[in-house]
């Protein structure tokens, strides 16, 4: 599992954001269109693409896309 692919999969869940501005260091809560529905789309993407689970607590404890990546990575083999 590698970060660039994760960032791409993450960006695919966004509708109104210029994806070239989204990087591993992006603080996802700062993305203008970010809302509860976006977080659900990320949970679904992680479930589909990586077979891993993200919880509400994971989002609350994370700041950047890279933080989420590390959590997902630690839960996949």
């Amino acid at each position: 599992m590698e970060i660039n692919e994760f960032v791409r999969n993450f960006s695919d869940q966004l509708d109104d954001t210029d994806v070239s501005t989204v990087t591993a260091d992006t603080k996802f809560r700062d993305i203008e269109e970010w809302d509860s529905l976006t977080s659900l789309s990320i949970i679904a993407m992680v479930d589909e693409e990586y077979g891993a689970k993200l919880t509400g607590e994971d989002f609350r404890q994370s700041e950047t896309i890279n933080d989420l990546f590390n959590l997902v990575k630690s839960r996949t083999n």
Binding site: A44, G56, F59
Partner: protein, 351 residues
């Protein structure tokens, strides 16, 4: 996961009763129409039925039960078992089933009990009433499943109030040695018990002045400790993985595939989550009925309410095989497959 089959029991009728009062989400009394437009778009809940202050869960279950008993031409004296599934009982005690045994005029020889499960409750309720009827001593049973969710959500919580609705349903079961065994797969993961919870009012946290105090948790969410709290992300994460896994588990156990099943009736959580589940299982959309737009999420009542509301014609005039899957609060989940033939389904009543 526990998979098993219960022989000798047949489901012969289902009925439903909903409140007359309609709350439209696009014309919401409290939340802005801009916010509600995106809410309706993602959840699929256009409107819901909400009980009057004077109406309780047993009122809706009572009407549904009376309609069904009449439609089946059952003698009340023949009813041996009554199970009520609800998380919004009339009182903290006694059980709502006792109140309904008396109000329905069922004999005092009728055994009555409540099962306080939510979204998985219909399937759990069927497994319990079927297991007891299967022995052959009890011949006829009523499973009443209903909620008045409007009584436990905070009116100022955008994550719960516009999603939930109220309803009561009745399902009638008989001992029948010629019936096909009903396969079940049931499970529990209490590590997620805080994902959907009413924190105060039980023996852990009493209702006191502090518990009654409304607090702003975040924008659009003001609630107190007696309100239903839902961690939408945890519930979603659980639902999109566990529900498909449970359906697959039961299909494997019962040696069936998706083509063998006529309809898949899922707990009506919200459209966003249900769509993901259905897509993951690759079920043709025409096999998946929804009542979300009209009734919202009525927790334990969603499955029977959806059958009555959306499959009325199909189940009452032919043979159908229906898979029912409930998942949520507990966390708890259950799936079963019902073989139905000329099911008796009275029209939905409004009170």
């Amino acid at each position: 996961m526990a998979s098993f089959s219960v022989p000798n029991v047949k489901l012969v009728g289902i009925s439903a009763c909903v409140p007359k009062k309609i709350i439209s989400n696009l014309d919401h009394p409290y939340f802005s129409s801009e916010m509600m437009a995106s809410f309706v778009n993602s959840t699929g809940v256009n409107e819901r039925r909400v009980a009057e202050e004077t109406q309780s869960t047993s009122d809706f279950c009572y009407e549904a039960a009376e309609d069904l008993i009449k439609a089946l031409s059952w003698e009340k004296s023949e009813i041996d078992i009554l199970i009520v599934v609800t998380q919004t009982a009339d009182y903290k005690l006694p059980v709502t089933s006792a109140i309904l045994q008396d109000r329905l005029g069922l004999p005092t020889t009728c055994m009555a009990m409540d099962i306080p499960l939510g979204c998985s409750g219909y399937v759990y309720g069927i497994s319990t009433i079927a297991a007891l009827l299967s022995l052959g001593t009890l011949k006829k049973g009523l499973l009443l499943v209903g909620e008045t969710n409007s009584k436990v959500v905070s009116p100022f919580d955008k994550s719960t109030e516009p999603l939930f609705g109220d309803a009561g349903t009745a399902s009638a079961f008989i001992f029948d040695p010629s019936a096909k065994p009903i396969p079940f797969s049931l499970g529990t993961d209490g590590s997620g018990h805080k994902a959907i919870i009413i924190p105060a009012g039980g023996s852990r946290n009493r209702v006191d002045e502090k518990a009654m105090e409304f607090v702003k948790v975040e924008e659009g969410i003001i609630r107190n400790q007696c309100s239903l709290v839902m961690d939408g992300m945890d519930v979603f994460s659980f639902g999109i993985s566990k529900a498909p896994a449970n359906v697959k588990e039961l299909l494997t156990y019962s040696e069936k595939n998706i083509d063998d099943i006529d309809f898949f009736v899922f707990h009506q959580a919200n459209m966003f989550m249900n769509n993901k589940i259905v897509k993951k299982l690759k079920i043709p959309v025409e096999k998946v009925p929804y009542s979300l737009s009209k009734y919202g999420n009525t927790s334990s009542a969603t499955i029977p309410l959806t059958i009555v509301s959306e499959l009325h014609a199909q189940v009452s005039n032919s043979k159908t095989e229906i898979l029912c899957c409930g998942f949520g609060v507990g966390l708890s989940w259950g799936t079963c497959i019902l073989d139905l033939e000329n099911l008796v389904v009275p029209k939905i009543k409004e009170v």
